[in-house]
């Protein structure tokens, strides 16, 4: 049972190769045709019907009729080269290597009798000093072994791929769950955040109410008076520039001492200020708290500011507490939001139809080439480190760039370190099927343009059923 499966795979694989390379149009060939035809060099059995011995030969493109003796007579008569399949006479001709024991294939006519062995059955050098050995059987053996190895690798690769797909799906789900969890957390935080906002607002209201109405005019007064007294260090009933400079500071930069001009501004343009003016001007500025404040407001100063009213004190503490809570809630909400968008960004990347490439996104792969170490972190970035230790970016994740029928065969990483002559480094990674995952090669064919070969089971593609292809094996 196992061997039958193998066999099918093997044939499918060969068919794939043939159909890709040679586009052989297949016609049904009857054995009797072969018997009728004279031995014509350089044609495949499928073309033998055109060369049945007659008086004349019609060029396959129908352009010209020539005597049959002029077929393979080393002079090109037909535009399409069809009269000279076995010689080098026609510029556009092709010669069929039968290569019994190996793969048959076509070579350009110009390689017939050029002193270089091209067909493994040596059929192209029939009139040449080249000593060609028939190596088809060895090549065939080797190729069969190779193909079998490839098939085993493909089978194994596909098996591993299936696993990885499953893992990928799990991972995807895990990530999705993680996302949902995070989103839930975010929602909860959102609620908490609103709660905290509400609480803070309430606390602020309470505080304000206590400050303004609860303690009445006196409270307001005493509070203004308290503050005035606090500032009036020499108790002369009037605030001076020096007193302002020593007690008042900027909210945004507590370390900076007010300049004289700034102090004068706070004093309403003069050098002194009495209590009544203070109550109507500076008092408002200080209590609104958007630009300046009393130094050490929170440690010692605050207590004195709010005076000794225990209600006011409690309300003030509560407002402060709620403000801190709100800040904490905001921070954790932002953090979770960032995590969500990072996860969403990652999940927005195309990891293949079955998320089979997803497992790569947390890994990095290295390869040493001459004096350089290349590191590929799929879906993330590519770097190159020289033996001297300098690391250079060869690009960050760009996109899939494979062909239309297999978009997942190639990746591009762009916008790496800028190049001396303009532009920036970029890397094209080709993904090939293999049983192990790793970097196989890294090259720089042109300055700043890198190419890598990355092997992984998830790049393995099941062999598709091909339309009927004939081989001469």
């Amino acid at each position: 049972m196992r061997s039958k499966v193998m066999n099918e795979n093997w044939h499918n694989f060969l068919r794939l190769i043939f159909s890709m390379r040679f586009h052989i149009v297949v016609a049904t060939v009857f054995w009797s045709d072969l018997v009728d035809s004279r031995k014509i060099r350089g044609i495949s059995s499928s073309y033998k019907r055109f060369y049945r011995e007659k008086k004349s030969f019609l060029c396959i493109d129908g352009s010209k009729m020539i005597p049959f003796e002029q077929v393979n007579d080393d002079y090109c008569d037909c535009q399409d080269g069809s009269d000279e399949p076995g010689t080098s006479a026609c510029p556009r001709g092709r010669f069929y290597c039968t290569n019994l024991g190996f793969r048959p294939h076509y070579i350009p006519s110009s390689r017939v009798n050029d002193g270089i062995c091209d067909c493994c059955d040596a059929s192209d050098e029939y009139n040449s000093p080249a000593r060609c050995q028939n190596s088809c059987w060895n090549l065939g053996q080797r190729e069969r072994a190779f193909v079998e190895g490839q098939m085993r690798a493909l089978d194994e690769g596909l098996r591993l791929k299936q696993q990885l797909i499953e893992e990928g799906v799990l991972l995807w789900r895990e990530k999705q769950a993680q996302l949902r969890e995070l989103q839930q957390v975010a929602e909860d935080l959102q609620l908490k955040l609103e709660e905290h906002r509400r609480k803070k607002h309430e606390a602020d209201q309470t505080l304000k109410a206590l400050q303004s109405s609860d303690s009445g005019h006196a409270g307001y007064n005493s509070s203004a008076v308290g503050l005035f007294n606090l500032l009036d260090s020499n108790k002369d009933g009037s605030l001076s520039v020096e007193e302002i400079q020593s007690k008042v500071t900027f909210i945004r930069d507590e370390t900076r001492v007010l300049t004289e001009d700034e102090a004068v501004t706070l004093l309403g343009g003069g050098h002194r200020m009495d209590l009544s003016t203070f109550r109507n001007t500076l008092w408002d500025i200080l209590t609104s708290g958007d630009s300046v404040k009393i130094k050490d407001m929170h440690s010692g100063g605050a207590g004195r500011l709010v005076g000794d009213d225990p209600h006011l004190k409690a309300a003030d503490r509560a407002a402060e507490w709620e403000a801190t809570n709100l800040k904490k809630a905001e921070e954790s909400y932002e953090q979770v939001s960032a995590e969500i968008s990072e996860l969403q960004r990652k999940l927005a990347i195309d990891y293949g139809t079955d998320w089979e490439f997803l497992f790569l996104n947390t890994q990095c792969f290295q390869l040493q080439v001459y004096e350089y170490t290349y590191t590929l972190c799929p879906f993330n970035q590519v770097t190159q480190k020289s033996s001297a230790g300098t690391e250079v970016s060869l690009g960050v994740w760009g996109m899939w760039s494979g062909s239309a029928n297999n978009p997942y065969s190639q990746q591009v990483y762009e916008n790496g370190e800028p190049c001396w002559q303009g532009g920036s480094r970029s890397t094209t990674v080709t993904l090939t099927c293999g049983t192990e995952t790793g970097l196989r090669s890294a090259k720089e064919p042109s300055k700043c343009q890198y190419i890598m070969d990355f092997q992984t089971p998830v790049a393995c593609q099941p062999v598709l059923k091909q339309r009927g292809v004939h081989s001469e094996l």
Binding site: D73, D74, Y75, D77, S88, A89, P91, P108, S110, R111, D114, G115, I116, Y370, E371, C419, W420, Q421, K443, E444, P445, S446, K447, C448, Q449
Partner: protein, 951 residues
């Protein structure tokens, strides 16, 4: 390969900033103008006028082969010795040196292939004003006028050329420095010594020396000399941060030549300028000083990588040439003066015709050495080529493969890369013969070595290439890394072969490997040693299909003045100043010798060089250096190679695609189409450019490039025959139209089209988006056939040719026969035994003629008569092949598979008659629309006698 500045940027960060910030062009400030070169400034300050030189006719000595006489400068009384020779083949050699130089002055060795054979000179008349000598049979005379001194070469009543007619002969005699302490000491010692010597010599040689003693002029000389003024730049000068110590002081020479009746002058390469030289009155003179110029600018007289001091003058009656044999820095001023002619001496009065007669004046200025000038009197262009070839030799006959396509890039990264590119050519069915490796293939820019990682098994790589019958070129530059672990360096140092600095130590400069020494290639023993390094057991990893490329041999010294060597560096007794322009010539000579020797003298070498001098044609190929992927650079490749061809260097090409920058696919295709029709056909690209192998620009462009490379390969028999021909005659392969049509004035300034040999006219498309070109078809009574369509066009017209991307306007001359091999294979070697197709293009007289040359393609056996050379003639309806090498000892397997007769009428019958007299009928096909008759498979061997008769 790149020039200095850019690669230096890798090491010198400040230059990087300059390069990025600046525009894309040469930094002219790195190179001297005439004003910045002290001797040029000094000499150019001298204006035409009466020459201070007088010929002392009483000193004249005339032997059978030469005339000598002394010249005296009336201003300083210094005497010169003039030697005048009549050379075989209608040439006159004029040599002028100091009569008694303080120390010997440099005379260029090794450039002439032999001492030129002389012919007798006869004295026709003599009086106190001068002498008249006969120059052989053709009523040619040279008139030596005494006061002031001048030479006039005449034929009949015509003055062909006058020397010193504008009085610009100058000779800065060697002198002692007077403004230093050492001078005072040495002059005192010298005068004491002179006195001692005089006492003794007067006893030993009473005649010669005594006579001199009493000569009042000589006495005056010593006194007068002390009055010579010391001008700035005579004893030292500096350029940018570089000082030139000039211990020998001023030593420049100068001479003017007047060319009556001449309006067109050509030659003196290498300049990125038009073919026809321009007058230089309003700018700098053309400069000849081998320099590595980064991103050179077009259409100016700046010096480039090579120098050939040969100028050709042409008018409808005559072509002449001037070969100024001097290897020092040289400037050439050209002026055209149809009015304001100088007054001729009374002996010339009668030749004064119309004062409207055009005249070109040329003035040569060199920094040191002597005046040694060869005047080639033509009269035809062919005669001048042959005259020059008799002096300096002809183009080396290259291996056939070198005429194929060369694929180069800085750099193919490793062996695998080489293998992939090689396979790419097969995959896309494009032939090539050579793949090239630039400097990165070496172990740290140590030439003769391989990078052990990237090229760990060079023989395996070379064998892989050999299996496809292809070849490789690896670069070997003349700068040697100073590294005590490097065998080449150690040997050169221990043998004392390096060029020395002014203080006697090994000269060191900065180049690719960092600090580098420069072997003294002017030494024959050094060259012999260098050649021996190419032996297979010395050059590890080399094989017989590995050839060599000499780059940076100007020499390029990144941190030297003008990116080259200090002029006060020493080559034995000579200063670098004296030998500069010879350095690259010698590098290529030693390398080519090495390649010949490694094969035991049997195989032809192939060496490409960037720097060159007169005579470099004997050594291999040259290319036009580091050009750019721009349309103007494509255009300039034509005049640049035409100018080189005129002075003997036929094997010329430009980097296809352009070295710097990246070509558009249109430019790349057009460049391939142009390069395929130039002698040396190599694509090359800078390290920083994207890959550009022919198949990387989409299937359509791949097909266009494939097609033109294949056209090149079909024409290889014709190219090869052209190289054989130039090897024999010195005629350029790629030649300006005027060379073939010297009386057709319409051709004199054409440099956007050219001929290959005499039978193919090429007008490459060098304009972006071109829809057509206008080609001039010469020869009123002849016809030209488009080689692609066989369409016939009359000569003597400007023809508009509409073009598409696949069009390459190439025409075959009516009256010619061109052999081709139509079976294009992977490489030229694969095509060795392939059959020929003969293209017979009939003229109005229904006649045609051509040649066929065949040999083994790679050995020197052709010099032992092992070749086939046949004349093919079509007349009276008979095409025949006649032997031109009766005792030839070569046979070929190649045969004639097809004969295409263009411009034919339809015959009734065609018969082939072989050497044995057997007759057979030949099938044929006639295309009445184009009048093309195709003979099917006549089948005779290409080396035999045969006749084909049309009835």
């Amino acid at each position: 390969m790149a020039a200095f500045t850019e690669r230096m940027a890798l090491v010198q960060a400040f230059l990087l900033v300059l390069c990025l910030g600046g525009t894309w062009a040469v930094d002219k400030g790195n190179f001297k103008t005439c004003d910045q070169s002290a001797f040029c400034k000094r000499q150019r300050a001298m204006k035409p006028g009466e020459s201070p030189y007088r010929a002392l006719l009483e000193t004249m000595e005339l032997t059978n082969t030469r005339l000598t006489l002394q010249l005296i400068n009336d201003n300083n009384k210094v005497r010169l010795l003039l030697e005048l020779y009549r050379l075989q083949g209608n040439m006159t050699r004029v040599k002028i040196n100091e009569l008694k130089p303080l120390k010997p002055r440099y005379e260029v060795p090794d450039v002439l292939i032999k001492e030129p054979p002389t012919e007798p000179l006869a004295l026709l008349s003599q009086d106190e004003n001068g002498v008249v000598l006969s120059l052989g049979a053709e009523s040619q005379r040279v008139i030596v006028s005494a006061r002031p001194f001048r030479l006039d070469i005449m034929e009949g009543h015509d003055v062909l050329m006058s020397l010193n007619s504008r009085g610009l002969l100058a000779f800065e005699h060697l002198r002692m420095r007077k403004d230093t302490f050492s001078y005072k000491v040495t002059s005192t010692v010298a005068s004491v010594w002179d006195n001692v010597k005089r006492v003794f010599s007067s006893q030993v040689e009473p005649d010669g020396e005594k006579k001199e003693d009493v000569d009042p002029a000589n006495h005056a000389e010593t006194t007068k000399e002390e009055d010579d003024k010391i001008e700035e730049g005579m004893w030292e000068e500096s350029f940018k941060s570089h000082a030139d110590t000039k211990p020998n002081g001023p030593s420049a020479i100068s001479l003017d030549f007047s060319l009556p009746g001449v309006e067109n002058v050509y030659g003196i390469p290498e300049h990125a300028d038009n073919l026809k030289l321009k007058t230089t009155e309003n700018g700098d003179p053309y400069r000849l000083y081998n320099l590595d110029v980064f991103q050179y600018e077009l259409y100016n007289p700046m010096a480039l990588y090579g120098a050939v001091p040969v100028l050709l003058a042409h008018n409808t009656q005559r072509t002449t040439g001037i070969f100024w044999l001097n290897a020092a820095e040289t400037w050439v001023d050209i002026s055209s003066n149809t009015a304001g002619k100088t007054v001729f001496g009374k002996m010339l009065d009668y030749v004064q015709g119309s004062s409207e007669r055009p005249q070109t004046d040329v003035r040569w200025i060199s920094e040191s050495g002597i005046i040694d000038v060869f005047i080639m009197l033509g009269p035809t262009p062919r005669d001048v080529f042959s005259q020059y070839a008799s002096l300096t030799g002809t183009q080396a006959f290259p291996p056939l493969a070198a005429l194929g396509y060369h694929q180069c890039r800085w750099n193919y990264n490793d062996q695998e890369d080489v293998k992939t590119v090689d396979a790419g050519f097969d995959e896309h069915d494009i032939p090539y013969d050579f793949i090239w490796l630039d400097i990165e293939h070496t172990d740290g820019k140590r030439y003769f070595t391989w990078d052990s990682h990237k090229f760990g098994n060079p023989k395996e790589m070379l064998q892989g290439i050999k299996d496809k019958k292809r070849k490789m070129v690896a670069i070997v530059d003349p700068h040697i890394k100073v590294d005590s672990n490097y065998k080449i360096h150690n040997e050169i140092r221990s043998k004392g072969f390096y060029v020395k600095n002014k203080d006697g130590g090994d000269y060191e400069g900065w180049c690719w490997p960092g600090s580098a020494g420069y072997p003294d290639f002017t030494r024959a023993d050094m060259r012999a040693w260098w050649a021996s390094m190419f032996a297979y057991d010395q050059y590890e990893g080399s094989m017989e299909n590995l050839y060599t490329w000499n780059d940076m041999n100007e020499p390029s010294v990144f941190n030297g003045p003008e990116v080259t060597m200090h002029k006060d560096a020493m080559h034995g007794d000579w200063e670098h100043r004296d030998v500069h322009n010879l350095y690259g010539f010698y590098v290529q000579m030693a390398t080519a010798d090495g390649l010949v020797q490694r094969s035991g003298g049997t195989e032809r070498p192939f060496v490409l060089t960037r720097a060159f001098f007169a005579g470099s044609q004997r050594l291999g190929a040259v290319w036009t250096g580091d050009n750019a992927a721009e349309w103007d650079h494509l255009k300039i490749s034509i005049p640049m190679c035409l100018s080189l061809g005129l002075v003997g260097i036929s094997f010329c090409g430009a980097d296809v695609g352009g070295f710097f920058k990246s070509p558009s696919s249109e430019l790349l295709v057009r460049w391939y189409q142009t390069g395929a029709y130039q002698p040396f056909f190599r694509a090359h690209a800078h390290l920083d450019t994207p890959r550009r192998e022919p198949w990387l620009f989409g299937p359509e462009n791949t097909a266009l490039i494939r097609d033109v490379i294949r056209q090149r390969y079909t024409l290889l028999p014709y190219w090869y025959q052209q190289f054989y021909h130039t090897y024999l005659t010195g005629e350029p392969i790629m030649r300006p139209l005027w060379v073939e049509y010297p009386q057709d004035q319409a051709t004199f300034a054409i440099d956007d089209e050219y001929l290959i040999g005499k039978d193919l006219l090429v007008h490459p498309v060098t304009e972006e988006g071109s829809r057509g070109v206008t080609a001039y078809l010469p020869e009123k009574d002849n016809v030209w056939y488009n080689v692609q369509t066989f369409q016939k066009h009359n000569g003597g017209q400007n023809l508009y040719i509409p073009v598409t991307m696949s069009s390459i306007p190439v025409f075959q001359r009516g009256g010619s026969i061109i052999p081709r091999k139509l079976r294009v294979r992977r490489s030229s070697a694969c095509m060795e035994n392939d059959p020929y197709t003969l293209y017979v293009a009939l003229n109005q007289q229904r006649a045609a003629e051509g040649e066929l040359y065949i040999d083994d393609g790679h050995t020197f056996n052709y010099q032992k008569n092992e070749f086939i050379h046949r004349r093919l003639t079509f007349s009276n309806n008979i095409l025949s092949s006649v032997n031109l090498n009766a005792d030839g000892k070569f046979t070929t397997l190649s045969w004639v598979e097809r004969i295409v007769i263009i411009g034919a009428s339809k015959p009734n019958k065609i018969t082939l008659q072989t050497a044995e007299g057997q007759e057979s009928s030949i099938e044929f096909d006639f295309d009445a629309s184009m009048s093309v008759l195709t003979l099917r498979k006549p089948g005779m061997n290409a080396g035999e006698d045969w006749k084909v008769m049309l009835q």
